[in-house]
């Protein structure tokens, strides 16, 4: 699905080679500041590497239309963003951005239930708590019919119980549809329980210094 060769981005990323197969759940694991969010943004076309090649389905990312790429490879950023408006507006936002068909209120309500987010669709989304906003942003991404889901610490603000509920639901659906997930997490349990493969940042990064001689 993704292939990286000799990627360099500022002095943040230096990756010789990395290959990610389709239809799997990957967990990105690494200490704070190691460049996990930066790497996801490169996959999503939000950042462009200074050097090297990144391919998505055999094609160089720089040669793809960035907007078309992002419709297939959607990303949930590290800080949950809530748009002005109702819960419904927020859930539909992704579909509206990418021009997909909207879903019904019923589908949205049942999604909220699965995410343990007991809120009305007409409620003002900006008044939700931090963890609720995170689940709302999560739900917005789940409604999108993408190929790859890049999730940057999607459950960081949730308690363990809620986290398990959300992750169970998410991975169950993803597996059913054979989608690819690359997820950043700080939790060992999450990565061991849900991922097919754990990617350790310090293993894929070329040690600093080697290239500066």
């Amino acid at each position: 699905m993704f292939e990286i060769q000799n990627l360099k981005y500022k002095d943040i990323l230096d990756i010789n080679i990395l290959e990610l197969e389709s239809g799997k759940v990957f967990c990105l694991f690494g200490e704070s500041g190691s460049g996990k969010s930066t790497l996801l943004k490169i996959f999503n076309g939000m950042l462009t590497p200074d050097e090297g090649v990144v391919r998505y389905k055999k094609e160089k990312i720089t040669q793809l239309d960035p907007v078309e790429l992002r419709k297939e490879v959607v990303m949930l950023g590290q800080d949950p963003v809530v748009f002005e408006g109702t819960v419904r507006d927020n859930l539909l936002a992704g579909l509206r951005f990418s021009g997909e068909n909207e879903v019904t209120d019923q589908e949205m309500s049942s999604l909220l239930k699965e995410l343990h987010l007991e809120k009305e669709l007409d409620e003002d989304a900006t008044k939700l708590s931090g963890g609720e906003q995170q689940r709302l942003a999560f739900g917005r991404v789940l409604l999108m019919n993408a190929n790859v889901y890049l999730m940057d610490e999607p459950t960081s603000a949730l308690d363990e119980g809620t986290e398990t509920v959300v992750m169970d639901y998410f991975t169950k659906n993803i597996k059913k549809q054979n989608k690819t997930v690359i997820m950043v997490t700080h939790s060992k349990e999450i990565s061991e329980k849900y991922s097919d493969r754990i990617i350790y940042m310090d293993e894929i990064l070329t040690k600093v210094g080697v290239h500066h001689e």
């Binding site: 076309g45 939000m46 462009t48 907007v67 949930l76 963003v81 951005f97 999108m144």
Partner: protein, 259 residues
């Protein structure tokens, strides 16, 4: 038609009493603004006297080239004034767009006004050409200034929102829709408000001038309606042009938000 009342030089001097009163008040209240007030008064006087002589010269030598030179100066001044009045740092590209939309928006509205609505004759008749161009340019300048501030401010404060939208496959256009609409709103609001208050809250300069020069109020009002519509057209055109081209300067060719 009755002639305009002459003001003698001594009557004019007596009007400066208002400034003297103002100075007395600020001194009494210990507001440190005396210098600014004096400078502003002097500037206003000198600028108007100079402009008076300049206009006298231009009106007496009715030549196309003079009208066009004045128009160029007004456009240039307006563009620089927008740069100066905007607090935020502006990128080179954005400055180009400001100049482009300011000039083409006002010119388009003005040409329509000149050749279709009022039909000055000759088309460069400085008596109409200069004050009306000035009004369109001045109002568009204010509109664009407000639009620029709102746009830059919007991209700064709502950066995360724009990025979140892009990450989900929004085009730059869609991702900045909220910011652009808000900027349009704040740029156009003063013009709309002044239409609402027109004639009740204030008699605008144009009409005051026409009435003072001895025309009947109904003629003055016809002019005022036309000019108000012209101003609205000029402001909306230049602001729309600016916003439509301007938001693009915040994105690079990979549809990423520039820093």
């Amino acid at each position: 038609m009755n002639e305009m009342l002459e003001i003698t030089i001594w009557q004019l001097v007596s009007a400066y009493i208002f400034i003297v009163i103002l100075l007395a008040i600020v001194r009494w209240r210990k507001i440190p603004r005396e210098k600014e007030i004096v400078i502003a008064t002097l500037r206003m006087t000198i600028q108007l006297v100079l402009v008076g002589y300049l206009l006298m010269f231009i009106f007496e030598n009715e030549k196309m080239i003079y009208s066009l030179i004045v128009l160029t100066i007004m456009e240039t001044f307006a563009v620089y004034n927008i740069f100066k009045r905007t607090k935020q740092k502006l990128s080179k590209d954005l400055k180009k767009i400001i100049a482009l939309s300011m000039v083409s928006g006002t010119l388009f509205a003005f040409i329509y006004f000149d050749f279709v609505v009022v039909q000055f004759s000759p088309w460069y008749d400085p008596r109409y050409f200069i004050p009306i161009a000035g009004m369109l340019i001045g109002n568009s300048m204010t509109g664009i200034t407000l639009g620029v501030s709102a746009l830059v401010e919007g991209f700064t404060s709502r950066r995360k929102e724009v990025e979140a939208a892009l990450m989900l496959g929004a085009t730059p256009n869609k991702a900045s829709q909220g910011i652009v609409n808000h900027a349009f709103d704040s740029a156009i609001l003063p013009t709309i408000n002044s239409m609402v208050g027109m004639g009740i809250v204030f008699l605008p300069g144009m009409m005051t001038g026409v009435i003072l020069s001895g025309a009947g109020p109904l003629d003055a009002i016809k002019y005022q309606i036309a000019i108000m519509l012209g101003i609205t057209g000029s402001v909306s055109l230049s602001v729309i042009l600016f916003l439509y081209l301007g938001y693009k300067t915040f994105f690079n060719k990979y549809a990423q938000l520039k820093l």
